[in-house]
């Protein structure tokens, strides 16, 4: 890990009401690489991801301890507003969630919120974002059609385009391919690898092959504990923990 750290997590714990969901997690995620969180359902990997852009704030009764720094800034710092954080830390959800608007408006939504008004600027941003999300060729002739008419894979790529339109530093992806067929999945994975040069990507996946295919680093979570974290190749070929090995080899429940 020679690259400079993008995200530093120190002794992070999280409770849903009285239930502890994350347990004393510390890790450092390097810049411009793809980091994957893996683990069985309910292990806390999505919760951890949602801590990074404070989406958990929306859930009632959540309590967090510990420090998360992104680009050196404490994200729970009183001086930092959550909207500012989320502008820097984009997110793509498990289920594609385009707004019931046109394709153009979906992508332009973030920049508009941030105060970009000029039509030319918006046109540029939309085109660049859609190109970056490898969707431009498919939709350039129907930018003003409703986004709900796109296929599942296209919708998910649109959501990626929408996320990168506000030029975040970090892109969080919460099982982005779980609802997609293999061909669409492959396209998204290819896209992730292309985006790696510009963004720090954190992906949650339950699909170990995907983690192995796209990620540089992998963290394995189990019941709220970070069991192991390190270079993907190392984790998959030579896991340091018995539990990791059990999970990877499919001996896990």
């Amino acid at each position: 890990m020679l690259e400079p750290a993008m995200i530093e997590i120190e002794r992070l714990s999280l409770w849903y009401a009285d239930k502890r969901a994350l347990n004393d997690i510390s890790m450092t995620i390097p810049k411009q690489r793809i980091t994957a969180f893996i683990g069985p359902s309910g292990c806390g990997k999505s919760t951890l991801l949602r801590c990074l852009n404070r989406m958990n704030d929306l859930v009632d009764g959540v309590r967090i301890e510990g420090v998360i720094r992104i680009g050196g800034t404490d994200i729970h710092d009183a001086g930092l507003d959550v909207t500012e954080l989320r502008k820097r830390v984009g997110m793509v959800f498990q289920k594609s969630n385009p707004f019931p608007k046109s394709i153009f408006e979906n992508v332009a939504y973030g920049p508009r919120i941030l105060g970009v008004r000029s039509r030319a600027d918006l046109d540029g941003i939309v085109e660049r974002s859609l190109r970056a999300a490898a969707l431009w060729e498919e939709v350039s002739d129907r930018l003003h059609d409703t986004a709900l008419g796109l296929s599942g894979g296209q919708q998910q790529r649109l959501c990626i385009a929408r996320a990168i339109a506000v030029e975040p530093d970090v892109l969080l992806m919460d099982e982005p391919c779980s609802a997609l067929d293999p061909i669409a999945t492959a396209k998204i994975e290819e896209l992730m690898l292309e985006l790696r040069s510009s963004y720090t990507i954190v992906i949650v996946t339950h699909n170990m092959q995907q983690a192995a295919r796209v990620s540089d680093d992998t963290g394995f979570l189990l019941l709220g504990d970070l069991v192991e974290f390190g270079a993907t190749r190392g984790i998959f070929t030579n896991p340091g923990d018995k539990r990791t090995e059990d999970y990877i080899t499919g001996r896990f429940g």
Partner: protein, 744 residues
């Protein structure tokens, strides 16, 4: 592929972010505040309505005004003017003492025409007139006028007593008049006076018919027959001068019929007091129909002339007893606006009663000394009592709604002119002395009657139709039938009411026997159709689930057949006039706008509501339950009745409840399709008056803040509470059902 564009960062503008956050915070406040206000004001409806009702049940209040005013000597009579500016009293010395009620101003007038005699007795004789009996056997009529002038914007009143020519009761002019009563009907004045030694003299104008030309009028003077009922202690004569009541020391009331002025008759004598204590005070309530009796033991009761049981001559009947005084009653004074009155006693207690409700409302505070005269102010907003030492006490009375009590609204009340206590709604009448009859019971009854007949009609049709649509109907048809029924629910009730009143009512009147036959004929028609259906080879039958469509023409044919048959049967069995038959054989009256019409019209409004909710809950029964039953070999009917129906029964219950709530509150249909008479019988061929229609008819005419106005608000409040409760219960049942389905 490399990133094919130059990254031009979108700047993160801190001030802009701060502004956005501010907007966000304010928006949250505005939406929360606004939402709360809107919801609170929606829910405040019930509060506002309740606020209008509260004064109805506020007890009467009274407070003394100022210090007692010295009139100077014992008085025979006291009265106040309309605006309670001044009071006046008549003293035995023949003076009229006028005092400003504010404590300022004192004027004394002499009674005209006394010629040195003294005033021995005084009485109120209706129309604002007083009768004064003199020590030399004459009766003088006094009317007090107050002329109002304005000086520098302030009202000043100038009293001017008006006297009529004295009437000599004792032609010799020697014996004093000890009691007097009088009336001034159109035919000429009637005066009854007791002169000592005990003689009861009637002075009246008698009309003598002449053979030619106008009849002659002649003043007669005659003695009324006395018997041993005891010494005369009180007199009361009604405003028409027809009935004279004499209270005696033995506690009896003797009634004389003076209708024939030339031949007065002693009609009856009744024991009016307990333990035979003397009757000390007699007086009429406003309208001169109810007699108030006060006795030496302090008892106060009201009496009325009512036909005896099973008809016959009217007899004096006791209506109500009021809270008794501890000492002998000395005076009473009626309200001139309603059926209230005040009584006073020798211990100085003054009480306020209300005749219709039989309730003693109030004991006026802070007065001592035997009361000689008491008067209820003309606007019923004050009382003045004068005691034996000539001190006058003045009270403010705040009693805007004396006629309303829980009993008056919901229980039987004995109204004037009614043979027994009953429920009556009659809010306004033609005359000033009308007794408001504000029983909500007939209206509640009417509402329930209309609702019952509507539900009797609607529930079976709606539920069967819902069962059919959800269980047996072909899905493609269902997609069109459901919106059709929804549209049916949206029909304005004024349209239904109009059709019911102007089209359906005459039609039903014409074909009622056929309508009665329609049910069985239609059922038979369905069976016949089913038989024919089964004869058709299976391959050529229509697909299952469209039976209902096939039955529409059957309904038409059954209708035609039933109406024809009804006409024939009516002619054959009922002598061609079913209405006459209903009256003679069943004792039922028939109105054209009756409960059948309302039942059908309101049923029409309720069917879609019950249908929609019931159909929803039936359709939402999980499919696997049906599959399980059918897999066991049950028929589709068995599955529907034994599995689906019980599972959905809470939903069906709430459907009926909501239909019930809608029918209860329906206004236009009942307004237009019934005669709106507030009768109480279950006869399906008669009309009724519902709470809702009553509000619609009477509220525009009700004076703001008046008793009727508030009672109508109470009616609305009842409707609100009723429907709100019913709907809430239904909604809770439905929520529970939904949770149950999720568990299945």
């Amino acid at each position: 592929m490399a990133i094919a564009f130059q990254v031009r960062r979108i700047p993160l503008d801190r001030t802009r972010t701060a502004r956005r956050l501010l907007v966000d915070r304010w928006a949250a406040r505005v939406v929360t505040g606004g939402g709360l206000v809107i919801i609170a004001s929606i829910l405040a409806i019930v509060g506002v309505i309740a606020l209008e009702i509260v004064p109805l049940f506020r007890p009467a209040r009274a407070g003394r005004v100022g210090e007692p005013i010295a009139v100077g000597s014992p008085v025979l009579l006291a009265a106040v003017d309309e605006y309670r500016d001044a009071m006046y009293a008549v003293t035995p010395a023949g003076r009229i003492e006028i005092r400003g009620l504010s404590g300022h101003g004192a004027v004394t007038h002499d009674v005209a025409g006394l010629n040195g005699a003294g005033v021995t007795t005084a009485a109120v004789a209706g129309g604002g007139r007083h009768l004064l009996g003199t020590s030399d056997g004459r009766v003088i009529s006094l009317e007090m006028k107050f002329d109002v002038t304005f000086e520098d914007g302030r009202r000043r009143i100038v009293p001017s007593p008006q006297f009529a020519e004295p009437v000599a009761v004792d032609p010799d002019g020697r014996r004093a008049v000890t009691r007097v009563a009088g009336a001034f009907p159109d035919g000429g004045p009637v005066i009854v006076a007791e002169v000592s030694p005990p003689r009861l003299v009637l002075v009246a104008v008698v009309q003598r018919k002449a053979l030619i030309g106008p009849g002659t009028k002649e003043e007669t003077r005659q003695d009324l027959p006395l018997s041993d009922d005891g010494a005369i202690n009180a007199l009361a004569l009604d405003g028409r001068g027809d009935d004279l009541f004499v209270g005696t020391t033995r506690g009896r009331i003797v009634r004389y019929d003076l209708r024939d002025r030339a031949n007065p008759v002693r009609v009856e004598a009744v024991d009016a007091t307990t333990a035979g204590s003397a009757v000390t005070v007699l007086g009429f309530l406003n309208g001169d129909r109810t007699l108030v009796v006060g006795d030496a033991a302090g008892g106060v009761s009201t009496w009325q002339l009512l036909p005896g049981p099973g008809g016959g001559a009217p007899r004096l009947t006791r209506l109500n007893d009021f809270e008794p005084h501890a000492a002998a009653i000395t005076a009473m004074s009626p309200s001139r606006r309603d059926k209230g009155f005040v009584t006073s006693d020798t211990a100085g207690v003054v009480r306020l009663h209300y005749g219709t409700t039989g309730q003693t409302l109030l004991t006026l505070p802070g007065h001592a000394g035997s009361v000689r005269a008491v008067t209820f102010a003309p606007k019923a907003d004050g009382v003045v009592a004068v005691d034996a030492t000539g001190r006058a006490t003045h009270w403010d009375v705040d009693n805007p709604h004396p006629e309303v009590t829980m009993k008056a609204l919901f229980a039987k009340v004995w109204y004037e002119g009614y043979g027994e206590p009953t429920y009556v709604w009659q809010s306004t009448g033609g005359t000033d002395d009308f007794e408001a009859k504000l029983s909500l019971t007939p209206l509640v009854f009417g509402t329930l009657k209309g609702t019952l007949y509507a539900l009797l009609f609607a529930v079976p049709i709606a539920l069967l139709a819902a069962l059919y649509v959800s269980e047996f109907m072909h899905p493609s048809l269902r997609a069109t039938v459901k919106p059709a029924v929804e549209i049916m629910a949206a029909l304005p009730s004024v349209v239904l009411g109009f059709l019911a009143g102007l089209w359906l009512a005459p039609v039903i009147e014409a074909v009622l026997p056929g309508l009665v036959l329609f049910g069985p004929v239609f059922a038979l028609g369905i069976l016949v159709t089913l038989f024919l259906w089964r004869r058709v080879p299976a391959a050529r039958r229509l697909r299952p689930g469209v039976e209902a469509l096939a039955l529409v023409p059957v309904a038409a044919i059954a209708g035609w057949f039933a109406f024809t048959l009804g006409g024939i049967l009516e002619a054959w069995l009922l002598g061609g006039d079913y209405r006459g038959w209903l009256g003679s054989a069943l004792g039922l009256g028939f109105d054209q706008r009756n409960s059948v019409v309302v039942g059908i019209a309101m049923g029409f409004a309720v069917i879609p509501i019950i249908f929609t909710i019931a159909e929803d809950s039936l359709t939402n029964v999980p499919q696997h339950l049906r599959a399980g039953s059918l897999a066991l070999g049950a028929t589709r009917w068995q599955t529907a009745v034994r599995i689906v129906l019980p599972t959905a029964s809470p939903g069906i219950f709430s459907a009926i409840m909501i239909g019930f709530g809608r029918a209860v509150g329906e206004t236009m249909i009942v307004l237009m399709a019934t005669g709106n008479t507030p009768v109480m019988d279950w006869n399906i061929f008669s009309g009724f008056r519902a709470l809702s229609a009553n509000i619609a008819v009477e509220l525009p005419e009700a004076p703001e803040q008046g008793t009727l106005f508030r009672v109508l608000f109470l009616a609305a409040f009842l409707l609100f509470c009723f429907t709100f409760t019913v709907n809430t219960v239904a909604e809770l049942v439905r929520l529970r059902l939904r949770r149950r389905y999720q568990g299945l």
